[in-house]
Amino acid sequence: MSQLPKDLLDILACPRCRGPLVVEPVSLRCDACRLRYRVDDGIPVMLVHEAERLDGGDPELDAGTPAVS
């Protein structure tokens, strides 16, 4: 389980698609965008450009095209 409090997890969303996140031990994952956001010493780092790209992600991501205008 993540060390993040439940009331924070309840409102956190992917900063790219605003969709729900999957809680991982030291990260938060967006399955829609295929991105993994790290949680650094209890601090979620919710920056798209710093997120880990997972297989099958949107190729436009690396071109810097936002999903939401």
Binding site: D7, I11, A13, P15, R16, I43, P44, V45, M46, L47
Partner: protein
């Protein structure tokens, strides 16, 4: 922009932060039971005031700088602080009752998008409130700095003067931005706060560290240029080895998110 340590920021414009945060919070009219998000929290001046008013557990804060996020979290125990950009807030729609930003709009890479994001994460009927310095007018610390810079190196300073380069710093600018973001019941006000200094050296100390646009400008000068600017700045302020006080004006705005139909 503010990649430098929180301590330098505290001694620079941060000196006004707490009083400005108190004034902004009062002006916003936020309910004591509300939850709030501080967007672009920096070292946490506004975060602290919001936490005292609403309870730390009701306050969230974000900043794109990890160093500021760590400083804010260390200083404001109980407040959850997240690394995020204003233009892409990592929260669900309507997640909080109020979104605030203090002295941040001009540092957003896309202020129109940033304000839309602040409105998105606020519930219908909630509020979005901000303030920006009156860089071109009565923010004495910065206005006198840039006037001195213009006098000592006109061409070099003219392209850096915050009174010129900041897009949202005249009276009426923020209300227009709020209106464009679809916010309602918009109110605007001037907030005037003071800071005290032990002497001119106390005021000058953070500038050469490179904090903020004025600090960055100082670092762009050679030793002689910097000394000339410092002397001209001190003369302009008319201060010396004794204590003094400066006042700073900010423009504040608050607007309401549409009630659900």
């Amino acid at each position: 922009m503010f990649g430098t340590p929180a301590e330098a920021y505290d001694l620079h414009v941060g000196r006004y932060g707490r009083r400005l945060a108190t004034a902004l919070t009062d002006f916003s009219g936020i309910d004591p039971g509300a939850s709030a998000l501080d967007v672009g929290c920096g070292p946490g001046a506004l975060t602290a005031v919001l936490a005292e008013r609403l309870g730390a557990e009701k306050v969230r804060a974000v900043d794109p700088s990890e160093r500021f996020v760590k400083a804010c979290r260390a200083r404001r125990p109980g407040v959850e602080v997240v690394v995020a950009r204003a233009e892409a807030l990592p929260f669900a729609d309507g997640a909080v009752d109020a979104a605030f930003s203090q002295l941040v709009v001009n540092f957003m890479s896309n202020p129109e998008e940033g304000v839309l994001e602040m409105a998105r994460v606020v519930r219908p009927g909630g509020i979005v409130a901000s303030c920006v310095w009156d860089y071109a007018g009565e923010m004495t610390l910065l206005r006198a700095f840039w006037d001195a810079a213009l006098e000592t190196a006109l061409d070099h300073a003219a392209v850096a003067d915050e009174g010129m380069v900041m897009r949202w710093c005249a009276e009426g600018d923020l209300p227009r931005l709020w209106s464009a973001a679809g916010l309602h019941d918009i109110r605007a006000s001037a907030l005037v706060v003071n800071a005290t200094y032990a002497d001119f050296s106390d005021l000058w100390s953070p500038f050469p560290t490179g904090v903020g646009p004025s600090g960055a400008y100082c670092q762009s000068l050679d030793k002689r240029g910097l000394a000339a600017l410092r002397d001209r700045y001190r003369d302009r302020l008319g201060v010396g080895n004794g204590p003094f006080e400066l006042s700073a004006r900010a423009w504040a705005v608050v607007g309401m998110v549409d009630d659900a139909i």
